[in-house]
């Protein structure tokens, strides 16, 4: 088997299509395509876009035969496999909406995963659902009491009869996919993205952020159920007729070096990952390994999805310099599923840049006052933020205060965006959609940042969102798990994240108001909650039991997670004074997360 080539005679078109079907029709005239690598890093499946299109059209006819109404949803357990890609494109030709579902499971997490699948399939009202043989038992269990037109493996679908007649296809206004923004089982939010919307974002990225050219080749291990994995590595390569190499997410997590080897062997030019992935990769690479690798073709290594800590990136660049990796390939970017994917990129070939600002001014007034190196050295409290670059040109931006007034340069506030890449809303959730999107098209991102000299700096993440290892975790989910224990009342829990003791990562904290005095029962409650969180989210959390009426509320009686977080940090510092260290960057924006 041979991987598809990186270049071909077909003229590069940067996603200037009106629908994804039109884009695939064009890509199918060339010889590029998609390539899948197994745990050993060997190529096990490869299709040109021409082959993929032909297969997708056959499958589209089989899906048509199921009699699902136009715009009906097809849930796809999004394991990194050629089947997912084929089903994703088949849905487009069949006029159906693919909905990628997470393919990830925690140790002992069988029941939690099945519940999550069931919740998402119900939320999107899917008419059909597919999972590969490794995952189909979970899917079958999840849909046992649902009435779907078809649920099963790719083989099940491939045995369906093909319907006759024209394929329905799509219009620019048709929904391209629904993207669930978090692993939330309790409060799923399905971002609805139309054909023209995702193509507008890809066009903007291809022309401006990444400046794609004929020789580009993509490489990724990112999960297909994440916006970056789906949009940047399935849809963008197709809509720009480039080849892409995939490695499974789990295979990457076990052997991060395989990602580097795959990029080296195929001379990838573009990849992307959250910062922790670069850290993980460099932890597992020895210096002599670097010599066997050739990363000299890699011109773009996007860094996104969580707050960026520059040190691991610098280490990565240092260790892989002998492999030809250039530090200027790192491309900090900012994006979110609600904007299809990307919002801003650092200009190409610029090196990572850090804004050193006065931490006290930021905490007190939200002002990003720059410090010169001498001041920074003199012990003034410094907050450091990474330059996330310039907005893609189709976006308008406003930084606003809590009451919606626009703020000036170097003043931190809530990032609002408007443009053709913004979602049409959350699936069948008018209330949540109204909260996020104004009538005149402005999206309230909930993220906190400031502008300086045309550059965007991100200082805080989505309102209350807990981000660990690049994954978004809603505090409501953690709180809900804690509340399901007897004796823990509805108003007794607050979840948030704090920097870990070494200041390098975030860790989740759940504060629980507890009336129990018996030490053994208290310890058992803590252990139970930690176990529940681990089996559902695969993360370690810290549980703090506090007396009743400890948790702070706003004047309207709502829980204030931001104040609960500050109180928790204060209690921790009183209990064990922290060793002196520079203020971690993410302590500064605290007041804005209120």
């Amino acid at each position: 088997m041979q991987a598809t080539g990186s270049s071909h005679d077909l003229a590069l078109r940067k996603a200037d299509f009106s629908t994804l079907c039109e884009a695939l029709d064009y890509a199918a005239q060339g010889t590029t395509g998609v390539n899948f690598h197994n745990a050993r890093g060997e190529l096990y499946a490869s299709s040109t876009y021409a082959e993929l299109r032909a297969e997708a059209m056959v499958l589209a006819r089989r899906l048509m035969g199921l009699g699902i109404e136009r715009g009906g949803r097809v849930a796809l357990v999004a394991e990194t496999s050629p089947h997912f890609v084929r089903f994703f494109w088949a849905c487009q030709y069949a006029g159906l909406v693919p909905v990628p579902l997470p393919a990830t499971i925690q140790i002992g997490g069988h029941a939690a995963y099945v519940a999550q699948l069931a919740q998402l399939i119900r939320n999107c009202g899917a008419s059909a659902a597919m999972a590969t043989p490794e995952w189909v038992d979970f899917l079958r269990e999840a849909v046992a009491d649902m009435d779907l037109a078809c649920a099963g493996t790719p083989e099940t679908f491939d045995a369906l009869p093909e319907a006759a007649g024209d394929l329905p296809g799509v219009t620019p206004e048709s929904t391209a996919y629904i993207q669930y923004t978090s692993g939330s089982t309790r409060f799923p939010r399905g971002v609805v993205i139309d054909q023209k919307t995702v193509l507008a974002n890809i066009r903007d990225m291809a022309e401006n952020g990444l400046k794609l050219h004929e020789g580009d080749r993509f490489s990724s291990w990112l999960p297909f159920y994440h916006d970056m994995g789906l949009v940047a590595f399935i849809i963008m390569p197709m809509a720009t007729q480039r080849s892409v190499d995939f490695l499974g997410t789990h295979d990457f997590a076990m052997r991060p070096r395989k990602w580097l080897e795959m990029m080296s062997a195929n001379r990838a030019t573009i990849t992307s990952a959250p910062p922790f992935a670069y850290e993980l990769a460099v932890m597992r690479v020895r210096e002599r390994d670097a010599e066997g690798l050739d990363l000299s073709a890699l011109r773009v290594a996007c860094v996104g999805a969580e707050m960026i800590n520059p040190e691991p990136l610098e280490r990565f660049a240092e260790v892989l310099a002998p492999a030809g990796f250039r530090k200027s390939a790192f491309l900090p970017c900012y994006g979110m599923a609600e904007c299809s994917l990307a919002i801003s990129f650092l200009p190409l070939d610029e090196e990572l840049r850090i804004d050193h600002i006065d931490s006290d001014a930021m905490q007190r007034d939200g002002i990003a006052r720059p410090l010169d190196p001498a001041q920074a050295a003199s012990g003034q409290r410094v907050a450091r933020y990474v330059d996330c670059g310039t907005l893609l040109p189709t976006f308008e931006i406003e930084i606003r205060d809590e009451s919606g007034r626009p703020l000036p340069e170097r003043q931190a506030g809530i990032i609002h965006l408007r443009g053709p890449s913004v979602m049409s809303g959350y699936f069948q959730d008018p209330e949540m959609s109204r909260e996020a999107l104004s009538a005149d098209g402005w999206l309230n991102t909930g993220d906190i940042g400031y502008l300086a000299g045309g550059r965007l700096f991100l200082t805080g993440r989505k309102k209350d969102m807990i981000i660990i290892h690049g994954r978004n975790i809603w505090p409501q989910d953690l709180e809900d798990l804690a509340k399901s224990n007897p004796g823990v009342g509805y108003n007794d829990v607050a979840a948030f994240s704090v920097p870990s003791e070494d200041g390098r990562h975030e860790e989740a904290v759940i504060v629980v108001q507890c009336r129990e005095r018996d030490e053994i029962r208290r310890a058992r409650l803590v252990k139970t909650i930690i176990g529940m969180v681990r089996s559902e989210f695969g993360i370690d959390c810290r549980v703090e039991l506090v007396p009743p009426r400890t948790l702070p509320r706003t004047s309207s009686g709502k829980l204030s997670r931001a104040r609960a977080r500050l109180d928790h940090i204060a209690r921790r510092q009183t209990a064990a004074p922290a060793p002196a260290r520079p203020a971690p960057a993410d302590e500064a924006p605290v007041r804005y997360i209120a």
């Binding site: 990830t104 925690q106 997490g109 069988h110 038992d137 076990m254 290892h469 681990r534 089996s535």
Partner: protein
């Protein structure tokens, strides 16, 4: 062929690298609840197991494993299948 007990002993060796597992190892120790292994730790453990026994441990298999003994039984089964 490695017996289940031998595998359990080998697993203790692998788990010794995690300080949080110290002093807690027994056949019925729960990998997640008792040892607090997070997903990154778990990956490290799976790599050691795969390399040592030359088997593939698919992620979905971990859904129904809670204790060290259950993990050992699964490894024994896979080793036998391979043989």
């Amino acid at each position: 062929m490695a017996s289940e007990n031998e595998i359990i002993e080998t697993l203790y060796g692998f788990l010794a690298r995690f300080p949080k597992a110290a002093g807690k190892l027994g056949p019925d120790t729960k990998l997640a609840d008792d040892l607090s292994l997070d997903s990154v730790n778990l990956m490290e453990l799976l790599v050691e197991i795969e390399d040592h026994y030359d088997i593939g441990l698919p992620l979905n298999m971990m859904a129904d494993i809670t204790t060290i003994r259950e993990l050992a039984a699964k490894i024994a089964e896979l080793v036998e299948e391979r043989a």
